[in-house]
């Protein structure tokens, strides 16, 4: 009930260069995952399932596919006149050619939207971590503790990276006592999930002050200072369920493969908190006479007549007779012709592998085939 009083803001301007071809024309938030979703679906659905009715998505470069995907917010029941989904692309005016210089700048540019929103709290998130949270518990913890800001973190060692990520030191009372950003060797075991909960008036004050001082990054220039200089109570909230960080081709690949695991799959796709996404109205997947499929997820619209093992097939994929697929992620509408062999590959949308083709990547570094490529 209380979550009606919280607005969600999702910042989608993360560094995307580690994802190579996959993010050349799309934001990380728009990256297709798990057969029929985009990265951002998990976060928006989590917010909606928690009762949040107002979600702003701050767009940066490459936002066409993201905008197209989110549409009017209808799939999330966020299409009302009252609250709903707000798409916030960069301003292009006579003076300004768009592109925010950082998360703080982005928030400052959307000050009007934040001010006009009638909720008292803001749940501020980045979009590169995939998890299916119910934020009610975090809100309860925030209100009980009387903290100024509550930051979600995970102890999952898989989220830790060299030279990348934010790590918290947290004391026995749950207070964040130190923050390290992008250290070469992360010293603290708590990785920030880049989810922050605070009062809207506090956020507006912080953003206004930060912008007035010429700062750009809300984590580094505002929150880190807050924690260091004390005065504010910044608490951690531990997220204990599965979560994945989409910051490299390997981590993207691992996520898709891990979803094949029953425990991970059931944790992410829980009936009580469905993940909504744009609907395509495809017919069910069809298995032909020669299909032999094992340990694989298959989305609607696929037609499979070959052998597929330990793979993820997105909507509308065609696998012809005699094809052999292992450890692959094959995105929407890709076509695998007869006799093809693929192992450890990621095929972006609408890729075509012609008859007899063979692509075998190392399992540590999958081969990426770009969108619309024919090989």
């Amino acid at each position: 009930m209380a979550m009606k009083n919280v607005m969600g803001i999702i910042y989608t301007g993360e560094k995307d260069s580690y994802l190579r071809e996959l993010t050349l024309m799309r934001a990380i938030a728009a990256l297709p995952v798990a057969g029929r979703y985009r990265v951002i679906d998990f976060l928006v659905s989590g917010m909606v399932n928690s009762g949040i009715k107002n979600v702003g998505v701050i767009m940066q470069k490459n936002y066409h596919s993201l905008m197209d995907h989110l549409g009017s917010g209808k799939e999330w029941d966020l299409h009302g006149k009252n609250d709903g989904l707000y798409i916030l692309p960069p301003f292009l005016t006579r003076e300004n050619v768009g592109v925010y210089s950082g998360s703080l700048d982005a928030l400052h540019s959307n000050f009007g939207y934040i001010r006009r929103s009638k909720q008292e709290y803001v749940l501020l998130c980045n979009s590169l971590i995939v998890f299916n949270a119910n934020f009610n518990e975090m809100m309860d913890a925030h209100q009980r503790s009387g903290a100024d800001v509550t930051m979600m973190y995970s102890r999952n060692p898989d989220l830790r990276r060299a030279e990348n990520g934010t790590y918290f030191e947290i004391d026995a009372e749950g207070i964040i006592t130190d923050v390290e950003i992008d250290p070469t060797r992360p010293r603290h075991e708590n990785t920030s999930m880049e989810v922050f909960l605070l009062r809207k008036d506090l956020l507006m004050d912080l953003v206004d002050r930060g912008a007035a001082h010429g700062y750009h990054d809300i984590m580094r220039d505002v929150f880190q200072r807050m924690i260091r200089d004390a005065g504010m109570r910044v608490r951690g909230y531990a997220y204990e369920d599965v979560c994945y960080r989409m910051d490299s081709v390997q981590s993207y690949f691992k996520f898709n493969m891990d979803v094949l695991d029953r425990t991970v799959r059931h944790a992410l796709f829980d009936e009580a908190k469905p993940v909504y996404t744009k609907v395509r109205d495809e017919m069910p997947a069809r298995y032909q006479d020669n299909a032999r499929v094992h340990n694989t997820m298959v989305a609607d619209g696929c037609i499979v007549d070959g052998h597929v093992e330990h793979s993820m097939l997105f909507r509308g994929v065609r696998i012809a007779k005699g094809a052999q697929i292992r450890n692959c992620v094959i995105m929407q509408d890709s076509v695998i012709e007869e006799g093809v062999t693929l192992e450890n590959c990621i095929l972006d949308k609408q890729a075509v592998i012609k008859r007899g083709g063979k692509l075998i990547g190392p399992n540590t570094y999958p081969i990426v085939i770009s969108k619309d490529m024919t090989i």
Binding site: A34, P274, M283, A285, Y287, D289, V293, H294, N295, T296
Partner: protein
Amino acid sequence: MLKKKQCIAMLLAGGQGSRLGILTVNMAKPAIPYGGKYRIIDFPLSNCTNSAIDVVGVLTQYQPLELNAYIGSGSPWDLDLAHGGVYVLPPYVKGKQGEWYSGTANAIYQNVAFIEQFSPEYVLILSGDHIYKMDYNAMLAYHIEKGADATIAVREVPWEEASRFGIMNTNADNIVEEFDEKPKQPKNNKASMGVYIFSWDKLRAYLCEDAGDPGSSNDFGKNIIPNMLRDQQKLYAYDFEGYWKDVGTIESLWEANMDLLNMPMPIDLYDKRWRIYGRNPGVAPHYIAEGAIAKSCLITEGCEVYGRVEHSVLFAGVQVMEGASVIDSVIMPNAVIQSGARVRRAIVAEGAIIGAGAKVGEDTGNIAVVGQNVKLAAGAVVAAGEQRVQ
């Protein structure tokens, strides 16, 4: 204040469909699941959307709950419009008393005021009982071109089956000269599909006449069409050639599902220019486990297959556990086939649970049916042709 429309559709969805046995105990026939992710009503509704007909009145009176919830705001079919859309039309009380729909024509007659709101020139009458893809817009163009008072969609049926249908005897110009309801000795093999376009002024007049006739069955086939022929109105037959299946019985519903497993499919549901829309369950892609077998089958989102599925259609959220086998069967949403169970030539309705080692249906014989939410005990047996309600 409603916007004028050239043609609106009225969809007769009130039938109880009693020949579908236990499947329609709690649900109107048009709400019956079909083809892995559709309901029967998705076909006429999607045909309307794809034909640019954007006002659809759905006439219901029998168990409309499931249908009502399924139709909702109409958004899956792009029918959630400010100026038009889908309207559910049950019987209602006028003045001091209410009256149930006494027949297909009476259902339309009771909704004359609804139709008049849109001042249409033409009204398309549909039924919610058939699986087919049809461009009603092309039929409307034909109706207008011919200057017809009524146009009846017909399809050629095998001569030996013609006596089971309403047969249109037409002349060389496709003008209907006679209508034979289930003729013993058919003179023609053009069977009515239950899809009519009427010029609204004409239809209204005949509905009013029919309403005043106490001996009438208030039915389109039995009364309205014969009365129009009697008065030598211009009735045209419109030839339709694609796939069309009446799914009015357990056997025909099962067959219509099995038809989708043929290659090429007799009705192309991959066609992006004529999509069949439906309400999406919103669950993850399905999962086929290590050691599972899935061949010659349709499987949709949310299913988990650990056992064997062959020549079958699985709806959303179905689970087939280790050692279970499903062959020649239709498994409706969220049913669970427990380990070692064996399902053959069967329809398992929504939410049913087939206990471990149970046997449903047989390799030959009639289709076995397990009803909605039935929990079949471990080791239970449902014989061919049997319908199990608990």
